[in-house]
Amino acid sequence: MTAVSLGGPPRLADPGPPPRRLLRRLLRPVVLFVINLLLLSALVFFGAEVLPGNIGRLLLGRTADPRSVDVLNHELGTDRPIVVRYLSFLDGLLHGDLGTSLALRQPNSDLLGAALLNSVKLAALAFVIVVPLALLGGVVAALRRDTWVDRTIIGIGVALTVLPEFVTGLILILVLSLGLKLFPVTATPPPGSGALTQLYYLVLPALPLVIVLFGYLAKLARAGTITALDSDYHRTAVLKGLPGRVIVTRHVLRNALLPTVSVLGTQAGYLIGGLVVVEILFNYRGIGSLIFMAAQSKDIPLLEVGVLTVGVAYMLLSALSDVVAGLLDPRVRSR
């Protein structure tokens, strides 16, 4: 199993740490994490500065009087030097203030909180659907290794994995929504809807994400299963005369689950990228469409907190998946 975690905190190889090294070992990821965030925030803030146009002009439109543009820019504080704005943004962050959206004049925390919650709902649903499906597919493929069943599952999985979400999303809308009228075309339910209605609205948007992830996870589950089947303890279990179902659930499944879980972190990053497209396609107000909107309207504070949130989520999920993988794997645990 060689899933490469891109962007996760570096794994430290030195075993048997004496106390001081242990402290360093615990501190180092935290320090790196903070440095990463600082770098990211500076890159976004100064990078966004070269975005074309000025926000006052952008908000008031092309035909507005230049005097109005100046007034608005002054009101928004965007006529201050960028370094000053960046420092005041960082200062706000330190005090727990995420700043205010320039375009919408709303606290970023409100906008971000709602968007993040929406995205998490969508992503969670996608995972809830795809993980069991992929495990099932992977285990079945492994048990029927090198038969047509195996090839079909893995072949279709790979083909689906490489399709862009907008292509699959479009076809799903066309067939399931406009054609068969099974699902609504947008992801946003009427205000005040219950949990079930919300869920119903989210199924279709979750499917492109499921499709993209399925092939990859199924492959990993298959590989994990094969490793387990070929391993010594499986042979031992068979020799011990345990029933096949028990073997599969106790040993094989754990081994299939392990790589799957350990790559969830990196896949989460992938998922967030896919969210941008899916949220736009299905008109869903999540973190992806929020960043898209903020970039288009040069709303730097909102853009900044949006991208930072994604960055933090990504780094945390990578770290978390390492931990979870450790808990699941007795070999890792015993160390």
Binding site: L60, L72, L104, V185, K298
Partner: protein, 561 residues
């Protein structure tokens, strides 16, 4: 009863109206004003619609009704209407609003002094009537009595004065500043009992338009208006009152049980707006029964709806248009023959058909559109003439053609129009390259030297609907025009334009515009291929939705079965 008067008795009417109104009646009688133009002209001068209708009836026998577009049968009261709306891209604030989504949201509760109706000119709303002085410099508006804001406070002249002075004050970042420039300055409005008196910077016969819904920022707000609290109450006087607003998601409004205009009470119980970041998802949402109405859509986005029997298509003729500017100060466009040749290469009817399926009117290379009252319709329509175009190019020494680049924003069908122009130029041996940019890049700072739109050799741009051509004809073509992307400097045009704006006389205005149209055909600094209809669509069960090409969505008389 006025609408029973005969033609001969119009002289009696004349004695009841002002000199300017009388003049309009004369023009009507002389056959120089069409019915629609008469209505527009008469209402701008403050004549009431029944009076104007009566005069028309006296002349021809028919009274133009005020039937809202799309109303075909008896309308049912109650129900909720769900509208797809562009996500507002800026803070919801009537003073600064510049985007369609914000405007549609605010105009559900907010009202104007007058409403610019697509077919009948100005309809008095919060002003009962208005009249100019003899010069057109001072305008007096009578504010309607008995109107209350949704919090119960009565509408007063002081509220109106505060609204307009707020818009004319450069310190507020007002988006109406460019409209009021040279027309109304801060302090130009004052209250006089129930009346508001506007003292303009210089005479302007079209001022009522600039105080109406045409100037979409001019929503009448309480004198105590606080922009930071607006989204908590959407305080206005309109047929619907605020219910909820969720930024980026949508808004809801409910019927105002105490709406002042008992002659046109709302049918609907509730109006919902759902925000979408782009047009295509709105169309899909209508098809998927997520919403009942889409409006302000492009033909290319909504095309699937217009042929679908499940929906009612709405079209409103407008002066919404595209301009292709050619830099008159840069070779090879310094030679008017070259500019004319390109204009002659374009097959306009085919472009209108192909790009918009004829949902628009042909343009004639001037900003004066067929919906605008002063446009001289006797000016010949330019048509494709490839032989003449080639001949002009030869005469200009460019028989072998030349290379040039069109810069254009990625807005609606404009990239497609650029392709069409590219293909047309190919017919006469001119090789055009395209440089299509995101709108924000393209408009840049919207000032010379910092905007591909204003600086490029050839540039395409969109101009929204205006009931009167003044702003566009001034800014895009006058020598000192701030949007003069063609860098057209013509003393003759400047003089004609000044002549036009100083005229209170209808026929003289029209004469000046006619001369400008002919001059522009000769000089061809810009190519105006067409004027677009303002488009929308509703479900079949919806009636009475009134689209306004200025951008408002009026559902005050809409109903859903």
């Amino acid at each position: 009863m006025l609408w029973r008067v005969g033609t001969r008795r119009l002289d009696g009417v004349r004695s009841q109206v002002s000199a300017a109104e009388g003049h309009v009646i004369d023009e009507l009688l002389a056959g120089r004003l069409g019915r629609r133009e008469f209505l527009r002209r008469a209402t701008v001068l403050g004549m009431s619609i029944p009076l104007a209708g009566g005069i028309l009836a006296a002349c021809s026998g028919a009274v133009p009704g005020e039937a809202p577009a799309g109303a075909v049968g008896p309308q049912q009261a109650g129900g909720t209407l769900r509208n797809a709306v562009n996500t507002p891209t800026a803070a919801i604030n009537p003073v600064t609003v510049a985007d369609n989504g914000g405007l549609v949201t605010m105009c559900q509760t907010g009202e104007y002094l007058a409403y610019t109706d697509a077919s009948t000119g100005l309809r008095p709303v919060l002003a009962e009537k208005w009249a100019p002085d003899a010069t057109g410099k001072i305008w007096t508006f009578d504010i309607r009595q008995g109107v209350t804001f949704h919090n119960g406070a009565p509408l007063t002249a002081a509220d109106v004065v505060a609204t307009f002075n707020r818009l004319a004050d450069p310190a507020n970042g007002s988006n109406a500043l460019s409209v009021f420039k040279g027309v109304l300055s801060k302090g130009g409005a004052r209250a006089q009992g129930n009346q508001v008196v506007f003292t303009l910077d210089r005479p302007n016969v079209n001022f009522p338009y600039l105080a109406s819904s045409q100037n979409y920022n001019a929503i009448i707000l309480p004198a105590s208006y606080d922009p930071t609290k607006y989204t908590t109450d959407f305080m206005g006087t309109g047929p619907f009152t605020f219910s909820s607003y969720t930024p980026g998601v949508g808004a809801a409004f409910v019927k105002n049980p105490t709406y002042w205009d008992t002659s046109r009470p709302p049918f609907l119980d509730r109006v919902e707006l759902k925000y979408y970041s782009d047009l295509p998802p709105q169309v899909v949402a209508l098809q998927g029964n997520e919403v009942d109405v889409v409006s302000g859509i492009s033909y290319s986005a909504g095309r699937g709806l217009f042929t679908d029997p499940n929906f009612t298509a709405l079209y409103v003729p407008s002066s919404y248009t595209r301009q292709l500017s050619m830099r008159c100060d840069q070779a090879p466009f310094t030679d008017p023959r070259v500019r004319q040749a390109l204009a002659l290469a374009l097959d306009r009817p085919a472009a209108l058909k192909g790009l918009l399926d004829d949902k628009g009117d042909l343009g004639d290379d001037s900003p004066f559109g067929p919906t605008q009252p002063a446009t001289d319709k006797t000016v010949p329509q330019r048509a494709q003439d490839l032989a003449k175009a080639k001949q002009l190019l030869s005469a200009a020494g460019l028989a072998a053609g030349f290379d040039a680049t069109i810069a254009a924003p990625r807005v609606q069908e404009i990239p497609d129009l650029a392709v069409t122009l590219q293909n047309a130029a190919k017919e006469v041996g001119v090789r055009l390259a395209l440089n299509i940019q995101a709108p924000n890049d393209y408009y840049g700072n919207a000032t010379f030297g910092a905007s591909p739109w204003l600086d490029s050799q050839m540039s395409l741009v969109d101009y929204g609907h205006r009931s009167v051509p003044d702003v566009i004809a001034n800014a895009s073509l006058r020598s000192d025009g701030v949007w003069n992307a063609a860098h057209y400097k013509s003393p003759a045009y400047d003089a004609l334009f000044d002549d036009y704006t100083s005229q209170l006389d209808v026929q003289k205005q029209k004469d000046a515009v006619g001369k400008m149209q002919r001059l522009l055909l000769d000089d061809t600094p810009i190519i105006v291929p067409y004027f677009l209809n303002w488009l929308g669509a509703t479900k079949k069960s919806v009636q009475g939705v009134n689209l306004n090409p200025t951008g408002q969505l009026d559902v005050s008389r809409a109903s859903i079965a």
